[in-house]
Symmetry: C2
Subunit: 324 residues, 2 copies
Amino acid sequence: MTDIRMIEAAAARLQGHARRTPLLSSPFLDEIAGRRVFVKAECLQHTGSFKFRGAWSAVSALDSATRARGVIAFSSGNHAQGVAWAARLHAVPSVIVMPADAPALKIANTRALGAEVILYDRATEDRDALGARIAAERGLTLIKPFDEPQVIAGQGTVGLEIAEQAAEAGISHADVLVCCGGGGLTSGIALALESRAPGLRARPAEPQGFDDVARSLSAGTIQRNAALTGSICDAIITPQPGNLTFPILHRLCGPGLAVSDDEALAAVALAFLRLKIVLEPGGAVALAAALFRPDQIAGEAVIAVASGGNVDPEMFVAALKTLG
Amino acid sequence: MTDIRMIEAAAARLQGHARRTPLLSSPFLDEIAGRRVFVKAECLQHTGSFKFRGAWSAVSALDSATRARGVIAFSSGNHAQGVAWAARLHAVPSVIVMPADAPALKIANTRALGAEVILYDRATEDRDALGARIAAERGLTLIKPFDEPQVIAGQGTVGLEIAEQAAEAGISHADVLVCCGGGGLTSGIALALESRAPGLRARPAEPQGFDDVARSLSAGTIQRNAALTGSICDAIITPQPGNLTFPILHRLCGPGLAVSDDEALAAVALAFLRLKIVLEPGGAVALAAALFRPDQIAGEAVIAVASGGNVDPEMFVAALKTLG
């Protein structure tokens, strides 16, 4: 199980490979939120999202003979790009299994980052059986997107940096809002803050209608989403919190927050205008909560993790239209 | 005259106030350029451009009695915002003199950053006389945009960071392309690199048709632009290099490069897609040169300074259309 020592070990392995992303702020955002807002710009991480950290952590933790055979992941999104690039930088093969109807740009990007992309037909093929067969044939190691201790440890390095950067900014007590899908990033950050900055408290931020983590925290048991499609925040839609992540979230996190798609788009636009960073809607959910849920947040400052920036130009243009 | 000791002193005054902006990269940009490309993301600086550094340097260098009376600047652009915010953070007044037909958003932003904005009619009023009268009445100190030793020293802190970050990335020999208007940023960086990273060479990048600095370097004497309007790279259009900056540029810089407006827009779009940062066209000129003038650059790596990100949504949408 992931603990602070695993996170510290992951940080040592990531040193010189992952970026230490900046903690940004703007007086214009402070005014909207009614308190100081700090944004951990993880969209500036390699491959455009925090997923590179967990992927690097997992790949680098393998023994060298296992790693040399290669890795495999199921993803058409940020996890795919993180695993592909981490494998490429380790000079080992990667196989990414994607649905054949994934956007052409995502397939092309993942291939360009060095992966072999294997497409399957969602209607007729069993993804897990296909992946298991390929993995067995080639001796590949599966890198899960969140419910995997070394992945959680890698994402937790975001929390180590937040603890340091908040201290530099003079912030010792604040909520740390985290865009939350399966909970790998949120649980990793929560573990890091528990040890390094106990006055900072991680809280999951999710799209309205897909707030399985918030409801699971309220109920004390894992709850599922009723639907898995219908939000533009696709990067952070998962069926339910993970079996490894949920106990950590339950022990350490404050209550979840949920925002609408329109609020996520407005946060994308404000991050463009005031911070000069590019966010995808799912990566802007925590910032949206910081800006538009002031009554659900306590304290003079709030920290929002901007988890990813892999957004299509068309969606970005739609966001900019909210600026009026 | 600015020298490395003034830049180091400016860096000490900026410590904890200016951001150490990241040096970003992407394998996709490397492939376009045919060499490794590193981007110094100064768009992530406070107020969205490097101008905050020079403004902070100049304001913080004043003796306290002089500073307390306040500062004045002539600008409707990035320098205005940098001076306004640096003065506000020093808790001293600032007056920004702008033409009455400046965009309403820029006027509002500069006011929101704490400045008193005084508008003048370009057709009927003499800006310099107006500013001189206000400065004399109130005892304000004029902060020039580039031809001022403490401003050059502040911009030079970008060069100190580039020297450190290039060394961390293993780069000891490379061209450093800098978006260049009056030459404050380029000359400051050139001075810093001369002392700290002599294998790195600053080179100005300008819009085609407004390449006064490139032509001045070729001629060995200051040359003027034939026109001052007609480029979307308005942030870096100036009549000619400064009397203080030109001797530094002439002594230290490599030949200038020039790019078209379309190439600047394409660089804005690629920075969005591959680096997740927001650039204005004038702030993307150096990146455009790195990507689209490979034959004019030597070496296995190139560093481009992305100097600012204060772009209107409409212009950004136009840039995204170049992605096809």
